[in-house]
Every structure is written in structure tokens, then in C-alpha cells.
Amino acid sequence: MEKPVKDAGNGSGRDERTGGGKGVNRRDFLRGVAVAGGAAFLGTPTDVQALHDLSGWPDRMGMLTDLTECVGCRSCEAACNAANRLPAPNAPFDEKSVFERKRRPTASAYTVVNRYENTKTPGNPIYRKVQCNHCEEPSCASACPVRAYTKTPEGPVLYNQDVCFGCRYCMVACPFYAPAYDYDSALEPKVVKCTMCHGRIKAGGIPACSGACPMGAITFGKRGTLLKVARDRIRKFPDRYVDQIYGEYEAGGTSWLYLSGVPFGQLDYPTNLPRKPIVENTKGFLSAVPLVLTLWPALLGLCYAANRNKEEKG
């Protein structure tokens, strides 16, 4: 938590390497592999001990959205829009007709609330707030070829448009469909997503959506504490909640956690995600890269030598 980490391209890597963060170290490991494989000038070897420390940044913050509390007032959308100085929406924030179709975060909205039928108590709709989940080990960050993403020690995953060239692999890799892209911009398109109000957090405040919620449905706090809070609620009110904290394990865990009264699959939460960070799936491939780089020249050279000799004899 010592220094602000705003982007990936200006030396924040040093903080990451010494910080003992979970995701970061695994990424550093992979980075080490790739460095050995393709671009040996890139960096120094990482602390081998740290490879086994997968506990994450110690004091990282998180958010807990309790879907059973949300009444769909869209105050969080309005507060987010104001706090981030986003363009005014087409329909005002107290307009309820937006619920008639499912929305998603866009280039002009970091967060949206959607309405779902309640299968448990019909006629009492469920509202789901959607935004970046700020993964513990973000796929977007692992996928980005220019390190435009940073997992900050405070928890938020931040995007730096100054190095982004717009390949949109982060959007392919995000299991939660969180990042949006301004496809309408001809020359300066950028990825847009929730920042978990990183600036406010650093200044000791809380994210705008959390502060604006009249129902207290969005709790801000240390992720570890929030998990305990969530477990307590499930234990105290077993009829109210399904026995799952979404985000505890999905894709390696997310900073944003959710409690729900109905199974998460009914609310369009992806339920087919691995429990380990998705970047693990590319680890085997990236580990093979240096092997190919070193073994292929030797084997092919051997083939060449063998065949050249054969020709000379023939």
C-alpha cells in the first residue's frame, strides 16, 4: 500500500515484484518464463520464493453486493456517472423502462443494473448490478500484450490507455464481459471499465456506488472481512441466501463479491468458470516456448547436417 500504482507502463512493476501479491507474482513468474523465451533484455529474475506465495496483496479492498437488498433504484448508476464525469445517459437515472432489456457496461457507463424474474418469490424482481469484478488475478492484465492493466495493492484493477493499441484481447479474456470499448471513436478508441473509484479509495473514501446506495446493498471493505460478513449472513439467514459467495473462487476469485437469494446462474452470472485463475491455462503453453526456442535449432540443425552429408555421399 506504499505507493500509488496507476499504470503498468511506468515502473510500477517494481512495486509489484516486491509486494508479494498473489496474482502479480504468478504473472511475474510467467513473465520470467516469457523473458527467458523471447526477450531476454526485459527484466530481472523474480524472487523464486515469491512464486509459492499466492496469498495476494495483504490489505486489498473489495465490495460486497447483496442482491437481496437491491431495489433497482439506480442510484449507484447515477453516482458512478457523476463521480467519473461520464456523459449524460439517454434516459434519466430514475427511468425504470431501461429494465425491459438486459444492459451491459458500455463506453459511457461503468456500471448498469439489470432486472430479473424472481423464481423464489414471483412478482418480487431481483436486481443485479454489473461492473468490472476486479479479479484477484485479472485475465485482462495477463492477456494484455502491452501491460496496460495493473492489479493495485488496494484491490482495483486499473487500465492505462496511454499504452493501449486497441487489440481488445482483454475483452476476449475477461470471463465477466466487463471491459467495454468505444467502437465509435475513429482515432482514439480506448477500453472503458469500472475503476472501483481507485482515487477515492486512495484518499480514504469509499467508491461512489457504495456511498450512494440507499439500501446499503453495496458494502466496501477489506476483501477478507467482506468474506466473513458474507458467510455470517448466509449462516444467520439460510432461507434468504443460496449458500454461495459469488466471486470467492470464480476465475481465481474477485474483489467484488455477491450474495443472492436465487442460484447465480438464473441471473446470468457465468457458472462455467474454473476456480483457478484463467491465466493458469496458458502457463503450459508459455512454458513450452523456451523449449521450442532452444531445442528446435539443435534438432533442425541436426536434420540439415544429416541430409547434407547424405547428399554428398550420393
Binding site: 500484450p145 470471463p175 467502437y183 496458458t282 533442425l300 536434420c303 540439415y304 547428399e311
Partner: protein, 414 residues
């Protein structure tokens, strides 16, 4: 063919013009350009090129189906994910001839290398249209490094391999402009460049598949496999072999006068030989795809939904069937059957790549099949780039010694 002789004494600009017009007077050359093929090409370019301009004026949204859920459209599904395996021609031919010592395939090496180089060049052109800020395309190489990313590897390797292929093809360019001494240097690095080409191709062909390892929740489980990098690499081998068959077939048919006797007389025999290699690789590939199903125990998915039938259609009708056609052609020593099998196999590679990058990506989202239909403008852009690709390819075949050997340089066998 031997326009060198008649322009030897001419002045430098005149010699240059004569190179461009293939020794014809300008007026006659211009007149020869008016053909039905060129008229169609001109129409496609007239429609498509302004639309590329529109993308840089009003954004990708005006010309593609790409969206927040579908970041990659057919510009990449076709241009990159299908284009790169079909451009495996360079490394398979150079390896066969220079490393494995199958010298009799030498007449096809330059065609293979040129097809590969042009394929990568145009893959980059599709990319430059698609990515948000194309003038930053060198950022992964120079400004900000993301080596945990598979795409970082792809960026480095495609850039490096494009250079390697240009060097591999450079003897043809240098013979064309009669730079004898520089050509000697270019010949010297052949084996080194070939080995570099195999390494780079192994890695980035497979990396294109590995890109999708980051999307386990989005790609249909029948197509998502831990073996996907291997599938992509192995299929690029037979895609390359079959593309050499296809391109040489088209070249020998429509640009016959630009090929020499050695090329034309050996073509049938070499085609059958390439078909033999391709069908062996395809049998391996088919087995691997089946192992992929077994590895994830996805047998149950095969017959339980239309996705399963679609998967079976892909691997049976577009991998196994063309493979059998190739095998029959090889057994009967019939180049025509082999050619049919090669075109079929190429269609299969494109289908697989479109399945993974577009058709089966986000298969579980509501309204999926409406969302992936490309708008007419995007199709027009793709058609215009394909046209440009063909025109530039033809321009080179018309002028440089690709399907023929320049008699002045026969001595060293390159």
C-alpha cells in the same frame, strides 16, 4: 521472360519503367490491363477501400459487427486466424527442401515463401484496420512489454517472421533488379532463415490457438481444449502444404507463361508428393482432434446437441473427408484428385478457425447467431483486401522469377 537483355543498354529510368511494364510500351501495357478480371477487381476495390477510410473517420462501429461481447470480427477471424495458417506455405516448403533435403521440391519453394510472406503481410493489414490505434502497433516491441500475454508472443513472432520471410524471398527480388552481389549475401542466410522460420512458425501458429485458452467460459467445450495450440500448429502444416498445391495450380493455369518447363513438367508429380505429406499430417491431426474429445471426456456432447453435430461435420466432412480424398489421389497417382482434396482441406482449415474465433465463441450468449452476422460493409472491406492481395500477388508473379528460375542464376541451385 528475357526482357533483361533488351533493356541492358537503356537508361536507368527507362530500365525501371520497363521492369514495371514487363518490357511493354506503356500504352500497350495499359491496354492489356483491361480484362474482365481486372474490371471486377476494380469494382471491389472502389467499394471496399472507401469503407476502410470510413473506419478511420467514424470508427469501427460503422463498418464491423464487433461489439463489447464480440471484440473480434471477421476482419480477424478471416484475416488473421484463417490467413496465418494458410500462410504456413513458406516454412513447410523451405524446411522440406533446405532442412529435410527433399531437393526435388525446389521449383515450389519460392512460390511457397511468397505465398507465406504475402499472407503475413495481409494479416498485418487486416490487423492495422482492426486495432484501435494502428500507429501504436510496435508498442509491444518497444514501448510497454506484456510478456505474460500470448498475444505479446504473437506480436513479436509475426513481426519477426514477416522480416524473415522477406529475407527468404529477397533473392527473387534481387534477381529481378539484377543485384547480383547483394543476392549472394541473401543466398548465404537461407538455412539460418529457414530454421528461424520453423521456430517462429511453430510458436506463433500454436500461439494463435493458445490465445483462446484465456476464454474457457466463452468457447464451446468441444472446441476449447488444452491441446488447442497443438491443433493450430499441426493444421498449419497441412494448410501450408495444401495452399502450395492450390496456388501452384492457379499459377500454372492462369500465369502459365510465367512458369518455366521445370515447374510445369514436374508439377503433377510434386503435387502428388505434397498431397502425400498433407494426408499423413491430416490423419495425425484427425487423431489429435479425437484425442482432444477423449481428453476432456466430451463424447457425451457429440450427439446431444446441434453443436455436437456441427463439430462432427467439421472433423468428419472437413478434416477426414478431404484427407481421404488426398489419400485416394496419392494412391492413384492422380494430381487432379489431390488438387480437389487440397482445396477441400483448405476450406476445412478456414472453417475450423472461423468456428473457434467467431461461430463457437460466445456460443452461450443469447442472440448469438444474430450477433455474429457481419454487415455488408465489413464483407466489402474483406473482399477488397482479398482483391488487393490477389492483384499484388499476380503483379509479383508476373515480374519476378518465382515459378521459374532465372537462367542467369542457375549455378548455385537457389
Amino acid at each position: 521472360m528475357n526482357d533483361n537483355l533488351m533493356v541492358k543498354e537503356a537508361t536507368y529510368p527507362a530500365r525501371f519503367m520497363s521492369k514495371l511494364t514487363m518490357g511493354l510500351p506503356m500504352s500497350e501495357y495499359a491496354r492489356k490491363l483491361v480484362t474482365p478480371f481486372n474490371i471486377v477487381a476494380a469494382i471491389l476495390l472502389t467499394v471496399g477501400l472507401p469503407l476502410i477510410g470510413l473506419r478511420f473517420w467514424q470508427g469501427l462501429a460503422t463498418v464491423t459487427h464487433a461489439s463489447n461481447e464480440y471484440p473480434w470480427s471477421i476482419l480477424l477471424g478471416w484475416g488473421l486466424f484463417s490467413g496465418v495458417p494458410l500462410s504456413g506455405t513458406g516454412y513447410v516448403m523451405a524446411t522440406a527442401v533446405y532442412i529435410f533435403g527433399f531437393r526435388k521440391y525446389h521449383p515450389l519453394v519460392r512460390l511457397g515463401v511468397l505465398t507465406g510472406f504475402m499472407g503475413y503481410l495481409f494479416a498485418v493489414i487486416y490487423l492495422l484496420i482492426d486495432i484501435g490505434r494502428p500507429w501504436r502497433i510496435y508498442y509491444p516491441m518497444a514501448v510497454s512489454f506484456g510478456p505474460t500475454s500470448v498475444l505479446f508472443l504473437v506480436a513479436w513472432h509475426v513481426a519477426t517472421y514477416l522480416t524473415v520471410q522477406l529475407l527468404e524471398f529477397s533473392p527473387a527480388i534481387l534477381e529481378w533488379i539484377q543485384a547480383r552481389r547483394t543476392r549472394k549475401w541473401a543466398i548465404l542466410i537461407t538455412v539460418a532463415m529457414t530454421i528461424a522460420g520453423v521456430i517462429l512458425s511453430t510458436l506463433h501458429q500454436s500461439a494463435l490457438g493458445a490465445l483462446f485458452l484465456m476464454a474457457p467460459g466463452k468457447l464451446h467445450p468441444l472446441w476449447y481444449s488444452a491441446f488447442i495450440p497443438v491443433f493450430f500448429f499441426i493444421s498449419s502444416i497441412y494448410a501450408g502444404l495444401c495452399m502450395v498445391i492450390a496456388v501452384s495450380t492457379i499459377g500454372a493455369r492462369y500465369l502459365r507463361e510465367k512458369a518455366d518447363d521445370q515447374f510445369l513438367e514436374n508439377l503433377d508429380e510434386l503435387t502428388v508428393g505434397l498431397g502425400k505429406a498433407a494426408c499423413i499430417v491430416m490423419f495425425v491431426y484427425f487423431a489429435l482432434r479425437m484425442i482432444g474429445v477423449a481428453h476432456d471426456d466430451n463424447w457425451g456432447l457429440l450427439l446431444s446437441s446441434s453443436y455436437g453435430y456441427w463439430f462432427l461435420a467439421e472433423v468428419l466432412l472437413f478434416v477426414l473427408l478431404p484427407c481421404i480424398v488426398l489419400t485416394v489421389g496419392v494412391k492413384r497417382d492422380d494430381a487432379r484428385i489431390v488438387r480437389a482434396g487440397a482445396f477441400h482441406a483448405i476450406a476445412g482449415v478456414v472453417l475450423t478457425r472461423l468456428n473457434i474465433s467467431i461461430l463457437m465463441f460466445n456460443w452461450n450468449l443469447p442472440g448469438h447467431f444474430q450477433a455474429i452476422v457481419p454487415p455488408a460493409r465489413e464483407v466489402a472491406i474483406v473482399l477488397s483486401i482479398i482483391t488487393l492481395h490477389v492483384l499484388i500477388f499476380r503483379w509479383i508473379l508476373n515480374r519476378m522469377p518465382v515459378m521459374r528460375e532465372d537462367p542467369a542464376y542457375l549455378e548455385d541451385g537457389h
